[in-house]
């Protein structure tokens, strides 16, 4: 029983750690995709955020400024993507691919110049995003350890859950959300009602970059303490997968990220127990996703106007 509770605590800890950056990025992706712009550049935006966050935190010594700058760096690349796809009607896949090269390319190049290395200098404890409720629980007993594992976690994790609720509220309870969803389904109808479709989409893509940037900053400012070229390896794509998995709904994306995070948590515990090969265990999140898709999810309703540039004739 004690072992089980301990393991569960560790699994949940790993679940939260792993899912936090994914959820930021996935929520961002929801904005972009639901408004009708496919954004496969999330990965590049996360990298830029991871880099900017760490570097700014390192130089200012302030994790909050760093975290915010991570978001802004993502937003900058979001703006690039928005300019190309929304303003100039670019093919969204091609523009996203470009972002995925530019984000890491520029980040690592600047790292080279600043640190003469592709890695940044590791952050000190004060420069990292702090943990909430650290030391609150008595780790001397099983229950306390469990609580410590699960709840004494980074601010960014608490924040992302609040953010998820906010995003859900925005999507389904506000004027902005109603219009945003309408833009992805029938942009022409929105225009005939005086809604600025291009403006909405531009803003949504920038928001997607902002959130992806925050997600990236989470990776390098919490468990890992430095930016390296392999800090962001595929999390952006997994976030996109979580959104498709969640049928383009913020709460669906949350579920997708939870599933992923939980499988990764399992991986940590199973890997520690020996027995099965670590490489095979590492496959679990991906295999489980495919199986869950086959069994429960199936076809998702892609926003009708998704991927199609909306061009006005003047």
């Amino acid at each position: 029983m004690t072992d089980f509770v301990n393991s569960l605590g560790i699994i949940l800890f790993a679940t939260l750690v792993y899912m936090t950056p994914l959820l930021y990025a996935a929520l961002g992706s929801c904005f972009s995709e639901v408004s009708g712009v496919v954004n496969i550049g999330i990965e590049g935006m996360m990298t830029a955020g991871a880099f900017a966050g760490t570097v700014v935190a390192y130089f200012t010594g302030n994790p909050w400024i760093g975290f915010i700058c991570g978001g802004l760096a993502g937003a900058f690349f979001g703006m690039l993507h928005a300019t190309a796809t929304v303003r100039l009607g670019a093919d969204q896949t091609i523009a996203g691919t470009a972002i995925n090269m530019l984000g890491p390319g520029i980040s690592i190049m600047i790292a080279k110049v600043l640190f003469n290395s592709t890695d940044t200098v590791p952050l000190t404890a004060e420069q990292k995003i702090p943990k909430l409720f650290a030391g609150v629980f008595d780790t001397g007993n099983v229950f306390g350890r469990f609580m410590d594992n699960v709840f004494a976690t980074y601010f960014s994790t608490y924040f992302v859950f609040i953010l998820a609720i906010v995003v859900w509220f925005v999507f389904y309870k506000t004027r902005f959300g109603l219009r945003l969803r309408a833009c992805g389904e029938h942009p022409k109808a929105c225009e005939t009602l005086g809604i600025n479709v291009l403006g909405m989409r531009f803003l949504c893509v920038v928001i997607s970059g902002l959130l992806a940037g925050l997600g990236g900053a989470c990776v390098t400012m919490t468990i890992s303490t430095q930016f390296r070229p392999i800090s962001i390896v595929g999390q952006g794509f997994i976030a996109i997968a979580a959104v498709i998995f969640g049928k383009f709904k913020p709460h669906g994306a949350l579920l997708g990220c939870l599933l992923f995070g939980f499988c990764s948590g399992l991986k940590v515990v199973l890997g520690g127990s020996g027995g099965v090969d670590m490489q095979l265990i590492s496959m679990i999140p991906y295999v489980v996703t495919v199986i869950v898709l086959i069994l429960f999810v199936g076809k998702s309703h892609v926003p009708s106007a998704s991927g199609k540039p909306y061009l006005k004739v003047k």
Binding site: T97, L102, G105, I108, V287
Partner: protein, 373 residues
């Protein structure tokens, strides 16, 4: 109605020219970054050029280019047939591993038998990897981009797992597989390489890449299969109405695309790599394939040229640190190129410049930069 067409009109309407302009702009942006970082543009670009123009340098470029060309063909083929093969990465990995295992199982086979067998195994593995995704899509309606992302990672860990099996794993200290059988190698003989001053890994792969380019072009442009797959690609409802079996076409398209991805993996292994390492992150050949396909406008011959271009940048880029410039400059340049290709609609505005001949059009600025490189 026909107006006399000026040179600007030609520039404004030709997609090939758009690509060239995008490339020039890519180098321009790269130069700006160099200047901002306080580095010498001439020196950096000079190094880039000089490192790929020697015979030895160029033979390196070709060696680098082969897997890019073939993954590029894989992605281009998928674009033509209306799917987005973001899964070339995984197909590359399983293809590479299939070829490796085959060669290690049958090391005694003579070259003319073993090499085709390795190719076959790689193509089959890649086709299987692409085919699974197609089946998931056709049978359960699962978004192919989503499942490809999953299968890329499954392939990655599967490869690492196989590389760790004792029968496959390297006997020495390296975290990698054993070297492939000598009879599976595509490399030129040591003497030939030495006599001609080529790269030590110079190999026959480029011939295979060229043959594949022609074959894919032929399939797409000249055959009923190409007609069928393209029809599904442009309008699957229309194709279905016209009596084409859409599901089977998607399966065929993804299997062929996957086979190409797998072949790319075997070419990389048998030409250059010799063994497969246990990696900590994806190598990105499939991703490079997407870039190459985009630069090559999804045209097989365009992909061939774009693959060599990308190979040149990768190899030349690896020499940049010799002059103090970061290798990642290449990602910035290529990223910019792809970005401008995506918004190549802006080049259409070139034709409006002719009324004001004094203005220097963007293309000309890029041209100056090219002269500088």
């Amino acid at each position: 109605m026909k107006n006399k067409k000026g040179i600007l009109d030609f520039f404004a309407e030709n997609t090939f020219i758009h690509t060239i302009l995008s490339i020039l702009l890519g180098f321009l942006v790269g130069a700006i970054f160099l200047v901002v970082m306080g580095l010498n543009v001439g020196e950096a670009y000079g190094k880039l050029i000089s490192s790929v123009t020697s015979l030895k340098g160029f033979s390196y470029v070709i060696v680098y280019a082969v897997p890019y060309i073939v993954t590029g063909l894989s992605v281009a083929f998928s674009f033509k047939t209306g799917v987005f093969n973001i899964g070339a990465e995984g197909q590359f990995v399983v293809g590479s591993m299939a070829a490796c295992v085959t060669s290690l199982m049958l090391p005694e086979l003579p070259k003319p038998l073993l090499i085709p067998l390795c190719f076959l195994a790689a193509a089959a593995a890649g086709a299987l990897w692409g085919g699974i995704v197609a089946v998931l899509k056709i049978k359960w309606g699962i978004n192919e981009v989503l499942s490809m992302i999953m299968f890329n990672w499954i392939a990655f860990y599967l490869s690492n797992f196989i590389a760790g099996i004792p029968a496959i794993h390297n006997d020495g200290t390296a975290e990698a597989t054993k070297n492939i059988a000598a009879n599976a190698s595509l490399q030129f003989s040591k003497d030939f390489i030495k006599a001609n001053g080529l790269a030590p890994t110079a190999n026959w792969g480029i011939l295979v890449a060229i043959v594949l380019t022609v074959v894919i072009w032929f399939i797409i442009d000249k055959t009923t299969l190409g007609y069928e797959l393209k029809a599904v690609g442009v309008n699957k409802y229309g194709a279905e109405y016209g009596g084409i079996n859409v599901g089977r076409s998607i399966l065929t398209a993804l299997a062929i695309s996957g086979a190409l991805g797998g072949l790319a993996g075997s070419l990389q292994l048998m030409g250059m790599g010799n063994r497969i390492s246990i990696f900590t992150s994806q190598e990105g050949f499939g991703f490079a394939g997407i870039v190459v396909a985009l630069i090559g406008c999804s045209n097989p011959f365009g992909v061939l040229v774009a693959g060599i271009f990308y190979g040149g940048l990768t190899y030349g880029g690896s020499k940049l640190n010799l002059v103090g410039a970061p290798t990642q400059l290449i990602s910035v340049i290529v990223g910019t190129v792809v970005f401008f290709i995506s918004i190549s609609v802006i080049f259409r505005y070139l034709k409006y410049l002719k009324r004001k001949p004094k203005t220097v059009p963007a293309g000309t600025t890029g041209g100056k930069e090219a002269a500088g490189k």
